[in-house]
Amino acid sequence: MFDTAGVKPLIEVKGLKMYFPITAGVFRSHVGDVKAVDDVSFTIFEGETLGLVGESGCGKSTCGRAILRLYEPTAGSVVIDGQDVLGADQGLLRRMRPKMQMVFQDPQASLNPRMTVAAIIGEPLDEHTTLSKAEKLARIYELMDQVGLNRDFANRYPHEFSGGQRQRIGIARALALNPKFIVCDEPIAALDVSIQAQVVNLLEELQDRLGLTYLFISHDLSMVRHIADRVAVMYLGQIIELSPRDAIYAEPLHPYTQALLSAVPEPDPEAEKTRRRIILTGDVPSPANPPKGCNFCTRCPKVMDICRVEEPRLTEIRPGRFVSCHLYDETAGATAAPGATPSNNNTAIQQGE
């Protein structure tokens, strides 16, 4: 749907790993890791929205936070606009912060209850600019106009607002420094449906106006279909499918994606009658102890013997469509070697649709 030939990648994530250590015993010895994000690689192009979906606990939010280095990732590299985020020291990282911002899931918790709206939106300006008081106030008012907040609210406190308004404050704060890239960490999950549409439309409008790039983390598949250009599906810390939006919704390739999409209700009653749900059995395995071979092999309806032995790689089986599944090994065999590394795939991603 968009031509990626002339668009340069803004964010390149390679082999990102975020392990949380498990310690036990009197001496806090290291007995294992929770592999929240396990070897994730993707690219986001400028002006694009990448939707990141998956069930709760699969590592979506951790992935988003690790990209902005709110956690210290275990391994991997993140390059935003040509600058390495993970290798930067604290001073350089601080200077890079204006470029990348975040909108948080819970608008109540992400605003300091003791600060006024003006102080909250003005905080990034205090930190990174040397504007005078009047200029700062003018910028705050401009931002409030941009996200559709009444200027008179500047003196109020977060508890005096509704959820949607609070999320607008959070968005205004993220926009204050003219970022290029915003991680939206389930920005609509805590809002009711009518407000969800408002906030998503606001995000889209701002993207058109300001040329923003989003990583849109969500578990709401229909909302992702609405806003995202490409969709990455995560399961147990790994990306199992990465495809352009229309392709993935029309024809999901990975059995997990198929199951996930079959759970989305159809608004059309005729189509709903024929909708066949794929019901997965069992629970998600613990990320501290993922199964051998494919992560999904314990629940996959199309499981084969090889799945329990060998871990599949994320390979491009059709132009722009990446799947990590042994089902497509034969078709993929011609185009990609079985041992293809994720970095090889990354260069291939840039070919786009």
């Binding site: 990282l93 912060r97 990034p124 406190y157």
Partner: protein, 304 residues
């Protein structure tokens, strides 16, 4: 749109938070009464001696153990010293000791609590230090401090100044542990809130993170322990004076007056009641002020 609306509705520029705090403080009746009483006590202590200019240490042996009279409105003690003058002079010392020692212990406790809560690496050593101080036997420690430092301090700061410094430091240094523990716990909880993560994503450095996001949110427990701290500092000072470790015997403080009068409590109850009342009133009014201030500083309670 902005043109018409900005002329029609006058937009208030962000005004200082402290006006909102004062507006809310005014609605708290107990706090207002407490503030009034505290101001009256302060005024009496600082302006009173100018009006009632009898020396608190003047001994008039012919006027011993007198009751209330025009010459001695609060009576005289067993040495014929005027109790009103002694109470005014004693109040100055007691309140100064209470406020300073409380300030010291709050600053110390908050500092250690915030460091221990915010920086994971410091938590172990600092909290063990706190435990160590909690385990110290207080009175022997104070006794040691007084015997060691009384003379050098008296030499360099004068007898009263030296003792004042010593007592304030002694009380401050032995009462910060509760505050440190409470603050650490609160900081640990605040640190995990999303707005701190949001500030990190903005690039706020640690010291401003503490000042802007953490401290304002742990203000309530600090305020509570501060108001309680004044009371316990005044009482500890009295106990020290009673044990002969505090100010010299002829130097009046509220605690001293109280303990001097205890011997003859049954004969002259007023001499116990008056300084006791002064201590209680001060402590109570400070508690109410702290209560009102805590409410006023919380924007969620404000305006309700």
């Amino acid at each position: 749109m902005t043109d018409t609306s900005s002329t029609a509705v006058k937009i208030r520029p962000p005004r200082s938070q402290w006006w909102d705090v004062w507006d809310q403080f005014k609605t708290h009746k107990g706090a207002l009464i407490g503030l009034t009483i505290f101001v009256i006590i302060l005024a009496a202590i600082f302006i009173g001696p100018l009006i009632w200019d009898m020396a608190p240490t003047y001994v008039d042996l012919r006027a011993r153990n007198k009751g209330f009279s025009l010459a001695h409105p609060f009576g005289t003690d067993q040495l014929g010293r005027d109790i009103l003058a002694r109470m005014l002079a004693g109040g100055k010392v007691s309140i100064a000791v209470g406020l300073t020692a409380m300030g010291l212990s709050i600053v110390l406790g908050t500092f250690i609590g915030v460091l221990a809560g915010y920086f994971k690496r410091l938590e172990g050593p600092l909290m063990r230090l706190t435990d160590l101080f909690l385990a110290l036997p207080l009175l022997p420690l104070l006794l040691l401090m007084v015997t060691l430092f009384r003379d050098p301090l008296s030499k360099s700061f004068g007898p009263e100044g030296g003792i004042f410094l010593l007592i304030v430091t002694a009380i401050g240094a032995t009462s910060w542990m509760q505050t440190a523990r409470i603050v650490r716990g609160e900081v640990l909880a605040i640190k995990e809130r999303e707005f701190v993560l949001a500030a990190r994503s903005i690039g706020t450095p640690a010291h401003r993170m503490v000042m802007r996001h953490v401290l304002p949110n742990v203000l309530s427990p600090i305020m509570v322990s501060a108001t309680l701290g004044i009371a316990s500092a005044i009482i500890t000072e009295s106990a020290l004076s009673f044990l002969g470790l505090g100010f010299p015997p002829d130097f009046p403080t509220w605690g001293r007056l109280l303990f001097d009068a205890v011997d003859q409590m049954q004969l002259y109850p007023a001499r116990v009641i008056l300084p006791g009342l002064a201590i209680s009133l001060t402590v109570l009014s400070v508690n109410y002020i702290g209560d009102g201030l805590r409410d006023a500083l919380d924007p969620r309670i404000r305006g309700r």
